[in-house]
Symmetry: C2
Subunit: 333 residues, 2 copies
Amino acid sequence: MPRPMFVALASLALLAGSTALAAAASDEPIQPIQPAVVTKPAMVELGKKLYFDPRLSKSGFISCNSCHNLSMGGTDNLETSIGDHWQQGPINAPTVLNSSMNLAQFWDGRAKDLKAQAGGPIANPGEMGFTHALAVDVLKSIPAYEAMFAEAFGSPGVDIDRVTTAIAAFEETLVTPNSRFDKWLQGDKAALTAQEEKGYALFKDSGCVACHNGPAVGGSSFQKMGVVEPYQTKSKAVGLAAVTGKDADRFNFKVPTLRNVELTYPYFHDGAAKTLPEAVETMGKLQLGKAFTPEENAEIVAFLKSLTGKQPDFELPILPPSTDKTPRPKPFG
Amino acid sequence: MPRPMFVALASLALLAGSTALAAAASDEPIQPIQPAVVTKPAMVELGKKLYFDPRLSKSGFISCNSCHNLSMGGTDNLETSIGDHWQQGPINAPTVLNSSMNLAQFWDGRAKDLKAQAGGPIANPGEMGFTHALAVDVLKSIPAYEAMFAEAFGSPGVDIDRVTTAIAAFEETLVTPNSRFDKWLQGDKAALTAQEEKGYALFKDSGCVACHNGPAVGGSSFQKMGVVEPYQTKSKAVGLAAVTGKDADRFNFKVPTLRNVELTYPYFHDGAAKTLPEAVETMGKLQLGKAFTPEENAEIVAFLKSLTGKQPDFELPILPPSTDKTPRPKPFG
């Protein structure tokens, strides 16, 4: 559980209070990303295989990695995703990177954590189009998977609770430390250019950090999209109101992380902003009532690009083959 | 070029003729797979990124790895593949593993080598749905790709010839040595069980090796599907005749490799055989006029499963991000 662990580590650093580094970092509204500490390697390895396994979809073609592609910043780089039978999804796929730090999952926060999120797309008719029971049937028919579940959980058995627990355990390792900005935060002042430093100062002074703060530079609150001016969009998503039923929560969306934002285009819940300069301009106008000059925009964009961290590095997983008893996918049924 | 190199190595071994191992191996109709020797690492690394990059498709969603998934034996494990806008492909996706050893590419051999093959799916409206010119435009808009092309080829420039050269160079590394059967061939007689050895003897004595021979256990000739009895299928594929225009070549298909066949289900050009026992039964009847007993079938299947080699092991590639100038994909256009 990276989040509690991070909090514990941060508290320790504050308690110790002994190094200039810790003191400097604590003055900033953004904190460095801590590397993942893997305490259950068998669980993480199982979760990784499941994350890449398209047999969790009805078609046998769509895996978690299809829309949260770890070669591409944990996203699909599409405005909205492609689901079973090429259905167009209703919302932009958020990055899985550093998502363990989010206060909740999905743009509207309807899943309280990664485990709760992981089951959603599998059974969503517009996404992987399967059912939890059928996905579990597939896994149960493969002895190599059964053995991995037994090892990871300490007892035999495959069920959707274990499937989502393992996927979440893998996702919790998908953090991206060591960005140039984090090195700068940790005292290496040569890690940023003058333009990037200016961009960070502007990012703070303009009020962006009111929402984009913490280690994930976002993910810690819901905020209204369109504070100063209403946001014009074709998207039908209403945000948190879909969960709470409260009119006051309409168009309140989870603030996205800005970590690796250079990789996670296009931007906003509707994917309407194709580039970072466009996203910065729109945010300035709609959220802050500010028109950044082209120079200021470029400074903020330069700062944002310094938030790209070390991407997850692991070997492409090799999946255990189906057996003669494994139910076959139905891509065209 | 693994094939010429392999031939060279094999010739050397024959010329030397000095070890029992080499002599033993040379008596067999199947030879061990040689590990890949990478002489151009920058080229292979570039090819790997391109292989995993869905921006070579119109939709931004389909990469080479979508249908030749290296987590799943270099196939999609579907009867026929899913293409742009979920179009149903006309034929089963053959494995990319050890495909450098094929005498030609595609089931009908219409591409003479991997380089010629690699351009096909990109521009096929039913597969990646793009054009070579548009794919090259995407790559040219990304300075990180431009730098990789310059490094790999020794001069600047991105064109489709270079794209397919690099993809082919990566694919040539996708060989799977060290199967249990290869260890057995190389003298480790404990590498196979008695059942597997019986299966191999039966595989030779029944005539399977007439077509499934060489290091790839196939891939070295075109043969008629349905020699003794005609093959019943809904597939409209006519095989080699589509290339030569000769009626005599109707239903002549490239003999598929049986390396990693445990991973490459379903079987045949139409993907109609869901399991190995089913495929062995059909091959026996239609190609050899033999009805294998259940025991014999199980022996052959056991032997075939010993052909699973070491799968390619490499880190999931991280793709360079698009820039503000990169043309965006059109998944729903």
